[in-house]
């Protein structure tokens, strides 16, 4: 039976921690078993003392690791619950891990509370961003072998995994996620480091812009946690709502909940215009209605095209200046320029292959019209070449492409000689990750 499909499965675990979502599951499966937000709720120690510790899984009983100072709330079911003084934080910045304690909590939650596995029994494959640093990778391997005592470990780059997921060893990967939009050329399964181009205009930035847009339209969205009872009102009529009294709410929690509204608005209403932006044509398109959690509902016309347009035109025409800017948008360029800039760093012999394998991934590429628009913008920039865009129609595949690639990679028979084993780690130390996971 060794020749049957999946005969090489070694029940490896695949863990993909992205800025917005964390995905975890078994290698060889076609979708992750657990998908939950990477953001977590945090209560400092003194507040959590008087509470009953109901979630045992969060507090690990591994004795050699220091106890977390506060209490962590992970998973959709926990983070969306209002708690006084609970902060909402994200351990990642620019795709890189900043808060290692929180990352440990996330791994714990994923492996123990969601997958219910003993990490000592399963090899572990972890994904990383293409611009991950040596220190970060060494910390990852330390965490895997010292704390979780996995028998084998491997860390692979997101674009390479995405390329695997779509079955193309050579490709140009456009990943437009929550925090970062990046373009990475992959050649024969290796990332071409000189071609990595990234900028912080992605889903989160668009969310903030939409929030500012609401301000301009004099809309005041009320998050779900403040709504006790809402009543039906006619379109454009003020909301008829009974609000809850929720004292001591932290600003971060409020903002997280606000962003949830914006996220829903973005997914259900926003759209990209398929060719060069033209407000006159767009104004003739049908409007779309959106209902806020407090029952207020109204229709959106050209506004719903303006925010996503920032992806292609990050100029002052579309960006609303923020009172407290989170990212510097002045050096940013449109996605199609990013692709072109990355392309010219590649060798001329590799360029045609890159352009005929342009893979689109990440949640922010799911705007209706995104792929059409991308083709409309990219094709004239490389007139002599054939441009072929590969965008999986399945939204799950687009959101979890790097996890999927990891799942494929870790179930290949030939891959098993690439794992970093416990023995190798003991012999060579953490520096081995740079040598063996060199893709």
């Amino acid at each position: 039976m060794a020749a049957t499909f999946g005969g090489y499965e070694v029940t490896a675990l695949v863990l993909d921690v992205g800025t917005a979502w964390t995905r975890a599951g078994y290698a060889g499966e076609d979708c992750p078993k657990a998908v939950f937000p990477t953001a977590y709720g945090y209560l400092p120690e003194e507040e959590s003392e008087d509470k009953v510790r109901d979630n045992q899984a969060v507090d690990t009983d591994v004795s050699n690791i220091k106890k977390p100072k506060g209490k962590y709330y992970l998973g959709d079911g926990e983070i969306n619950v209002w708690r006084p003084n609970m902060e909402v934080k994200n351990p990642l910045n620019d795709g890189l891990v900043e808060d290692w304690d929180a990352l440990e909590q996330i791994w714990d939650y994923a492996l123990k509370s969601r997958l219910h596995v003993d990490p000592r029994e399963h090899p572990l494959l972890v994904s990383e961003v293409a611009w991950n640093t040596r220190e970060h990778r060494e910390k990852l391997i330390e965490l895997a072998f010292e704390k979780y005592e996995t028998p084998a470990f491997y860390v692979a780059k997101n674009p390479v995994l995405t390329a695997y997921a779509s079955g193309r060893p050579t490709a140009m990967i456009l990943d437009c996620g929550a925090a970062v939009t990046s373009v990475t050329p992959v050649y024969d399964g290796f990332v071409l480091k000189k071609g990595i181009i990234k900028q912080p205009i992605a889903g989160d930035f668009i969310n903030e812009q939409i929030l500012l847009q609401f301000g301009q339209l004099n809309l005041n969205p009320v998050p779900q946690y403040l709504v006790e009872k809402k009543n039906y009102v006619d379109p454009d009529q003020p909301a008829n709502v009974i609000l809850r009294n929720r004292p001591n709410t932290t600003a971060s929690f409020h903002k997280y909940m606000l962003m949830k509204i914006v996220h829903e608005y973005k997914e259900s209403v926003c759209q990209l215009y398929e060719s060069t932006y033209n407000e006159q044509v767009i104004s003739s398109r049908p409007m779309k209605t959106f209902e806020f959690p407090d029952g207020y509902n109204t229709s959106f016309g050209t506004e719903r095209f303006r925010a996503p347009e920032i992806l292609f035109q990050p100029s002052s025409e579309f960006i609303i200046p923020s009172p407290e800017p989170t990212v510097d948008t002045s050096p940013c360029v449109g996605i199609h320029h990013m692709i072109f800039n990355s392309l010219v760093t590649c060798d001329i012999d590799a360029r045609p292959a890159m352009m005929s394998n342009l893979i689109v991934t990440g949640g922010s590429t799911l705007f209706p019209g995104f792929v059409d628009r991308l083709y409309h913008e990219v094709a004239p920039k490389v007139p002599g070449m054939k441009v072929r865009i590969h965008a999986p129609g399945n939204s799950m595949e687009r959101k979890c492409s790097s996890w999927l690639g990891g799942s494929i990679l870790a179930s290949l028979g030939t891959f098993h000689q690439l794992w970093i084993s416990r023995k190798e780690y003991d012999e060579h130390g953490k520096g081995i990750v740079e040598k063996k996971c060199d893709y």
């Binding site: 039976m1 060794a2 480091k193 000189k194 001329i348 360029r351 028979g413 794992w419 023995k423």
Partner: protein, 413 residues
Amino acid sequence: MATSDVRDILQISRPAPGAEGTPKKSTKPEKEKKPEGISRELFQLIGGAPPVAFTKPTYKQKPNLRQKAAHWELREFVHPGRTDQLALLRWTKDINNNITEDDLQEFQNLEVIHYTDEEYHKYLLDRDWTKEETDYLFDLYKRYDGRFMIIYDRYDFPGKRRTMEDLKDRFYFVQRKIIQQRPGQDKAEIAKYNYDKNREVDRKRNLCMLFTRTSEQIKEEEALLEEYERIEQNEKKFAKEREVLIKSLAFQDISTTVKRKRSMTNGSSTPATEIVTPVLSVSASESLPKKSRRASASSVGSSAVVEAHPPVEHVRREKLPPGVIVRSQKIPQVKQGAITKVTKYLQEAGLGIRPSMPTENVCAKWIELQKAIVSLHDLKRHVEKQEHELKTKKQVLEKTKAAAGGSSSSQNW
């Protein structure tokens, strides 16, 4: 008529008396049995033609719950490509089953010819390349299995910036040199490592030029290419026509020579005058009026060999459709817009659409008449138009006059 009679007529031998009722069953081919483990669809593709007849649906068998479950075991296995005996666990069904080597193929490492220190100092010294850097290059080559695209991407030797061509040139040079110098190396291998750096650089520069073209340039290029193809096709067509022409001329030549030969056998006049005659006849027919020429063309029979092939121009002008035709058909058609008008005029004059007695003279007159009607009609229309224009112009003039008068009066006022 019984079947036995038919059989007798067709001289088919009578089947055995016992097998009368079941001839079909015996002729039906034995259905091939589907082996275990192959799906039905796959088997239909590889194992004979699929059944044409409607097959009775078979229902899924009830699961036999009492049967003992198949035994699966979590077993350790060691990948043959690993050196550290990492034992990974995997579920296997059969205890006796082991993963064979070819199931888990190892990575093939590229063969690289390495130099020794002595060899390096003897043959490979280079002003631009230190030994450390060459070592570094070879290390990368091995590490990335000879993918120069990636070697170039990761190449980071302090104080040096290399192009991909530099790296390739150095590497292949070292390989060639060692094969050449080291005894016992297959010298034919050198061809594998041939590398012409200048040519590569040129090629890449040209490719870059192609890459940087704008879409207008590409369009222009395509248009030019199309134009070129068109010209070439025209040229071909022209050449073909020319060839046909030459052939027919050659035929004339042959016929004249035939004639000359004949005349020579006759032993009459000098050949020179004989050759001139066809040319003369052509020019003569050219100068003749149309009618008489046609007559001459029809009159030429098989009397003269030359005249059996009338001059090219003659044939071209007179396009005669094949078969029998009526002369009235040769009357040219009036253009589409004027047909109704012309027929109207003709009816007014008590004439039909076609001449009732289409002799040559009548037809010629008829054509003249048609032409006259058409020009008359055109003139009439023109006159009407001009009159109308005149009218409007006059109106405008009056208006402006009135306005001018009004304004002048107002000025006075």
